[in-house]
């Protein structure tokens, strides 16, 4: 009864034509683009890998073989767990975490500086300089790091000429290039949420703390960081999710011996040709990311509504 009343109110408020248009567009987005594809992927990940004509046939039953494969490996393998894939999975999450911390450490001082200075012309130019790299294609940004970190890249050549090293260092294999490139790719998503929050912090609070004799790190620890927590956590969430789900940077900058979990998914879809297995791996990645982010939010007492502010 109440629902009917709500719907009637809605149409009275918006008019029939406009109201239905809004409803249709939103439903299209929410249901057909967001919810149903995710559900269908989830469903698909529990199916057998079948050639197209057999889909929907009697063999098309539910199975957990793909999840089993991720945990236990191919049947008959010599290890009892799928060491390779699980290892890659763990390493991806760990590396994404590392990249997040790196970005946070790099960005916090600048965000604080930008947020606390009364925006003059210089600050505007700094903000502009921050945004420009973000408009450059992701692939090209990764490519730039390859030029710099490659075996005959800028850093190696410079160190060779200066005589610091006698043989080129393989930054690609050591994953230095990958971490630098990933951190670079998402640096802006860290800096702006923190900047936005710190900008609204009342400077009197800091001055009060200073007058009371607090040291600078104590001011940050007790005043600025607690206040900036929503910004910090939403920046961290975005950087973590995006680095864990990154595909371009690992493909271009990753060492030959270290895969990213998304690359395994990509292989199952493209060269492997086993879509359900790829879908299962994607579901695992999605669920793991959601769990990690939700637990981080619980830990730092931040709500999802703060994200994207």
């Amino acid at each position: 009864m109440k629902a009917a009343q709500l719907i009637r109110d809605y149409f009275v408020k918006n008019g029939l034509g406009l109201g239905s248009f809004l409803l249709v567009a939103v439903l299209f987005w929410v249901v057909i683009l967001i919810v149903l594809p995710q559900l269908s992927m989830l469903d698909f990940s529990f199916r057998h890998h079948l050639p197209p004509p057999e889909m929907g046939g009697p063999k098309d039953t539910y199975t957990i073989e793909h999840y089993k494969y991720l945990v236990l490996g191919a049947p008959g393998a010599d290890t009892s767990y799928n060491v390779v894939d699980l290892g890659v999975f763990g390493r991806t999450l760990l590396a994404a975490f590392f990249v997040t911390i790196l970005d946070l450490v790099l960005c916090y001082p600048l965000a604080y500086y930008l947020g606390q200075s009364r925006g003059g012309g210089a600050i505007r130019i700094l903000v502009l300089l921050l945004i420009i790299p973000y408009w450059i294609n992701e692939i090209l940004r990764a490519f730039a790091f390859r030029i710099i970190f490659g075996e005959s890249g800028l850093i190696n050549e410079m160190m060779l000429t200066m005589g610091l090293i006698s043989d080129p260092v393989d930054f690609i294999r050591a994953n230095v290039a990958l971490y630098a490139g990933l951190g670079y790719a998402y640096i802006l998503l860290m800096i702006f949420p923190i900047y936005n929050v710190i900008e609204s912090l009342d400077r009197n609070q800091i001055e009060a703390a200073r007058d009371m004799g607090a040291s600078w790190w104590r001011i940050h620890w007790r005043v600025v960081i607690p206040y900036a927590k929503p910004g910090i956590s939403s920046g961290c969430t975005m950087v973590f999710m995006l680095s864990a789900g990154a595909l371009a940077a690992p493909q271009i900058l990753g060492g030959p011996s270290s895969l990213w979990f998304t690359q395994i998914i990509y292989q199952w879809f493209n060269t492997g040709g086993n879509w359900p297995r790829g879908a299962a791996f994607a579901v695992v990645l999605l669920v793991a990311c959601i769990i990690i982010v939700l637990s981080m939010m619980r830990l730092f007492k931040v709500k999802i509504g703060d994200i994207g502010k």
Partner: protein, 428 residues
């Protein structure tokens, strides 16, 4: 206290330098590699200033085709995501409060869902739909452009929605109500009141959506089908063999971005200046007053300098030819190569010498090495141990000397060290 603040300032400056070095350094390096002539993009050693990579880029069919696909997909994505983002934002203000948190979580989630997952779910979902409908694999539901637009719009609409929400917070709903009271229809009120108010936000959301679509890789890589976008083409090129034409493309994109950003900055500054002076916005956006803009507007000065620089570069590129420089470099490279070969040979000779000191394990080639060093241009150090080598190369540098048979020479004075750096045939 004073030294403390000075130290702090120095630290801050150093930090800013490091930070912006990290942020801009890679782009600058990449831009410069577009003008260096080696076929692998690198800055050092600097060889020749060249513009040939821009030619290579302009003739690259796949890149051009990719740009075309990217633009088509970009336009589709902009239309779809702006509509969905706007309606999504409007819906947020009207939805039943108890549902609001859930709704917000759902529509914001696509930003957080890995792009790979979005691409896969779109691909799988429409594949199943088309199977359900009994469509062939060539149908529209398998069309790369269709799938890519849908996949990208899923999350780009969320970005747009955030822009619209920010703008809607300042909207006075009383205006719409007043219009309705005065007898406007809902559609009229929407078109005449709300849309004009949202116009700036629609513009920035559209730009944002287009850029996001243009550079998207993670989602597109699963959905593009037969229509690779520019980003996909770039990724293929970067992964399987790279050359500086990609740097050239990057340079073009960077320059366009900088110009766009500066133009935007100028526009905003003019507006601010005018508003500060109490002029209506409409008066400001019209005429172009040169001297006023330039005063106290570094962005405008930079933009003009950039334009001049670009024009002169293009003029220079027309008249400049890197050929002579390239010849020089080639010559130089050959020289270095020869030096290297020489060094290797000397090393080898030393080795041979040591071997011969250890025991008379002689083969015909030992002698031939000496004359071969004198004709390094041949670069034939690979076959110095070939006994037949002697017949050809030994007499060549010193034709006045009598030709020696290799068999005899091999047993000559192989033990004497001078033998090796001087011409061997002399001994006979």
């Amino acid at each position: 206290m004073k030294t403390n603040s000075l130290l702090l300032k120095v630290l801050l400056a150093a930090y800013l330098v490091v930070f912006f070095g990290y942020l801009l350094g890679p782009l600058i390096v990449m831009s410069f590699t577009a003008f260096n002539s080696p076929s692998f993009p690198k800055l050092t050693p600097w060889e020749c200033l060249t513009f040939e990579w821009f030619d290579v880029l302009a003739n690259d069919e796949r890149i051009l085709n990719g740009i075309e696909n990217s633009i088509i997909i970009g336009i589709g994505t902009v239309i779809l995501s702006v509509i969905m983002g706007l309606t999504g934002a409007l819906m947020l203000t009207q939805i039943w409060p108890k549902l609001r948190a859930t709704y917000y979580t759902i529509v914001i989630a696509p930003i957080l869902i890995p792009g790979v997952v979005l691409g896969i779910s779109t691909l799988v979902f429409w594949d199943r739909i088309s199977i359900m409908l009994g469509m062939s694999t060539g149908g529209i539901l398998h069309n790369g452009i269709f799938l890519t637009i849908l996949g990208q719009s899923t999350f780009i609409a969320s970005y747009c929605m955030l822009v619209f929400i920010a703008r809607l917070q300042r909207f006075d709903t009383g205006l719409t109500e007043a219009a309705l009271d005065l007898g406007a229809t809902h559609v009229q009120a929407f078109r005449k009141i709300l849309l004009p108010f949202m116009k700036p936000a629609i513009g920035s959301a559209a730009v944002l959506a287009f850029l996001a679509s243009f550079e998207n890789y993670n989602t597109t890589t699963f959905t593009f089908g037969k229509y690779p976008t520019l980003t996909i083409e770039l990724a293929q090129k970067v992964r399987y063999g790279i050359n500086p034409s990609i740097s050239a493309l990057a340079f073009i994109i960077i320059v366009l971005t900088v110009i766009g950003a500066l133009a935007h900055e100028i526009y905003r500054r003019r507006q601010q200046l005018a508003l500060a002076n109490g002029a209506p916005v409409s008066a400001v956006t019209g005429s172009f007053q040169l001297p006023k803009i330039l005063s106290g507007n570094p962005a405008a000065i930079i933009l003009i300098l950039l334009t001049l620089g670009g024009a002169s570069t293009i003029w220079f590129a027309q008249s400049y030819s890197p050929d002579s420089c390239k010849m020089d470099v080639r010559e130089q490279k050959r020289f270095i190569q020869e030096e290297r070969i020489k060094a290797i040979r000397e090393k080898r000779q030393l080795n041979i010498q040591q071997k011969q000191h250890q025991g008379p394990d002689v083969f015909g080639g030992s002698k031939s090495t000496a004359p071969a060093t004198q004709s390094p241009g041949k670069g034939a150090f690979g076959n110095v141990f070939d006994p037949g080598n002697l017949d050809k190369s030994a007499p060549a540098p010193k034709p006045e000397k009598p030709v020696t048979s290799p068999g005899k020479g091999a047993f000559g004075d192989v033990f004497s060290p001078q033998n090796l750096d001087k011409a061997a045939p002399k001994e006979d």
